[in-house]
């Protein structure tokens, strides 16, 4: 079924006089890789936090994985995965311990945990490193591990908040291959980024400027519409009018 996994209507968040997110409306289909773009301070992270149940919207409504973001935050949390732009694993724990911890947090049974852990380590080629402390892994590996752990409970949606910050292009490419694989298995990916080349990989892209969504379409359509060669040009055209500085 081609159902809608995330549906947001006029979602707004105000901090005092400042409107961080201003009446945004969009839908995300199952299995989509939905790129959520915008300059720093455009309101991406705030919008994402509302979807994850980390903060309440000031007004507007939204549904994630079939649950209302205002009243069913606890249910949403069971059905989503989350990877923050800051590092989301425990440095002082080993690879295995991190896996077991998060499997435990999401209530996976012991048997299930062992199975998933083996799969995961094999897929990442980390089997020999399973007893290494996470802090001594290279950044690229950490991020791949972090993503795998965020999806360990087979969530319906994974929220990735600038997952590839500070990683070299080759690792970023590998990371995106993992994202594709996960999306092909039916998990919806909701990803924020400010690397415009990554925007090209997304099924659809929304561009936020000053708390509003200024454009939302497939990368190809957007480039046509704005008569641009790359997503970078599209973004520049849109962001030129931004009032908020960094």
């Amino acid at each position: 079924m081609s159902d809608i996994v995330i549906s947001v209507h006029n979602l707004t968040k105000r901090f005092g006089n400042f409107t961080a997110v201003d009446h945004i409306t969009f839908d995300v289909q199952r299995g989509e890789i939905f790129g959520f773009l915008g300059a720093n301070g455009a309101g991406k992270t705030t919008a994402m936090r509302m979807l994850c149940g980390l903060s309440y919207p000031t007004s507007g409504s939204g549904n994630v994985a079939g649950f209302d973001i205002m009243h069913e935050g606890e249910q949403i949390k069971r059905h989503i995965g989350y990877m923050s732009q800051r590092f989301s694993l425990y440095n002082e724990l080993t690879v295995s311990e991190n896996i077991n911890l998060f499997a435990g947090i999401y209530g996976l049974s012991k048997k299930e945990t062992t199975k998933r852990a083996t799969q995961l380590l094999e897929r990442l080629n980390l089997h020999s490193e399973r007893n290494t402390l996470v802090k001594s892994l290279p950044l690229g590996w950490k991020q791949k591990l972090s993503f795998s752990i965020a999806t360990i409970h087979n969530p319906e949606v994974v929220f990735l908040d600038e997952p590839t910050g500070g990683v070299d292009p080759v690792t970023r490419r590998q990371f995106w291959e993992m994202i594709y694989e996960t999306a092909n298995n039916g998990t919806t990916i909701f990803v924020t980024t400010h690397y415009m080349d990554e925007a090209e990989y997304c099924s659809r892209v929304s561009i936020m400027v000053d708390g509003e969504i200024r454009a939302l379409d497939t990368p190809t359509n957007l480039k046509q519409k704005f008569n641009a060669m790359t997503m970078d040009d599209v973004f520049r055209t849109l962001a030129r009018g931004a009032k908020r500085g960094e």
């Binding site: 606890e74 724990l93 311990e97």
Partner: protein, 364 residues
């Protein structure tokens, strides 16, 4: 959902065990403090150097001097002349000089015969340290009076701590300090560290309830604190000879209440700070100072100005130290300190409620 709680406890314990340096500090500080306060730092007055001026060394005088020399609080430095007194005191060679009048025997006889007389002995004491001077004078008077007559107007008994050992006084105070240090500081820093590093965000997005996160964090620290408690009690009893006369049960009970209170305090600090440095500062400055000043650890509460006496009521350590002293030294049962217990439990509940309210699952 019991499993996710257990995975949390395990994770937290691993964190603590891996951080060897912190572990060492936590185990080491109590031991060092106990030994330091038990042996090195002491308010007892020992080894006061004494010189004697005695123009006429009659039997009565030598008898008195021998008694002084035999007393463990004094070290007899020998006889000196009248004109040396000032130099000896000024140079710090002696702390007190005892001057016998030439007709000492006669005057003593007059005094005890009930006849009018001028004083028989003059004491000159170096009062640059008030505590030492006060204690020295009292000791000297009692020892010298004893030579003159076995009879005395008073019979004094020092109850509970007959040897006036200062360790008896310090051990409960130190316990009040150490547990706050270990529990409050460590829990607050560990929670705030997760906020700072960003892992707290991930935990809050997970289906685990914040209450569980918090209790899972507290359990390992509680276990550590219990180990520290055991170490302290063993050291206090076997090394410093502190009598646990009220029974070990009462002491452990009130200590466990106090541990819970300290953990809640740590939790509270973590809800009002967002950096590890701030959490450390608050634990160190905001918690340590009142404990040192207003808990009766260093100064008796009765000696504080009225205003600070009132302030001391909100310092948890005050109640704990008070109760522990009664339990350890006076040997009363836990029932005699019910008031302190209730106050401590009340404070714990209040802190827990406030912090759990503040520590909600929303970031903003």
């Amino acid at each position: 959902m019991k499993r996710n709680f257990l995975s949390f406890v395990k994770k937290e314990s691993l964190h603590i065990l891996r951080d060897k340096r912190t572990m060492l500090v936590v185990m080491f500080i109590p031991i060092v403090l106990m030994i330091l306060f038990g042996f090195a730092i002491s308010t007892e007055v020992n080894n006061i150097n004494i010189a004697v001026v005695a123009p006429n060394r009659t039997d009565g005088v030598t008898d008195a001097v021998n008694r002084l020399a035999a007393n463990e609080y004094f070290t007899f430095k020998g006889y000196i002349n009248q004109d040396e007194i000032d130099i000896q005191l000024r140079s710090g060679k002696v702390g007190a000089v005892v001057i016998f009048t030439p007709d000492y025997d006669k005057r003593v006889a007059q005094i005890f015969g009930g006849l009018p007389s001028t004083p028989a002995i003059q004491l000159i004491v170096d009062a640059s340290n008030v505590n030492i001077a006060g204690a020295a004078t009292a000791y000297l008077q009692s020892v010298l009076l004893g030579t003159a007559s076995q009879q005395s107007m008073f019979e004094t008994r020092m109850l509970f701590n007959p040897q006036m050992k200062s360790a008896y006084n310090f051990v409960p105070g130190l316990m009040g300090l150490i547990f706050i240090l270990v529990c409050a500081m460590m829990t607050s820093v560990s929670i705030v560290r997760e906020k700072e590093v960003g892992t707290m965000e991930v935990l809050l997005v997970s289906p685990v309830r914040p209450v569980k996160i918090i209790f899972a964090k507290m359990i390992p620290y509680f276990v550590i604190s219990c180990i520290v408690l055991t170490i302290i009690l063993l050291l206090a009893h076997f090394l410093l000879d502190v009598p646990m006369s009220g029974g070990i049960g009462g002491i452990v009970t009130i200590s466990l209440i106090y541990l819970a209170l300290s953990l809640s305090l740590g939790l509270f600090i973590s809800t009002i700070t967002s950096t590890q440095v701030a959490a450390l500062l608050i634990s160190a400055v905001v918690l340590m100072m009142p404990i040192l000043m207003f808990s009766g650890l260093l100064f008796p509460i009765e000696n504080l100005p009225k205003f600070f006496q009132v302030v001391s009521n909100i310092v948890p350590a005050r109640w704990y130290i008070d109760a522990t002293r009664k339990l350890m030294i006076q040997g009363v049962s836990i029932l005699a300190v019910w008031k302190e217990c209730i106050i401590l439990i009340g404070m714990t509940i209040m802190l827990l409620v406030v912090s759990l309210k503040k520590f909600n699952d929303k970031l903003e």
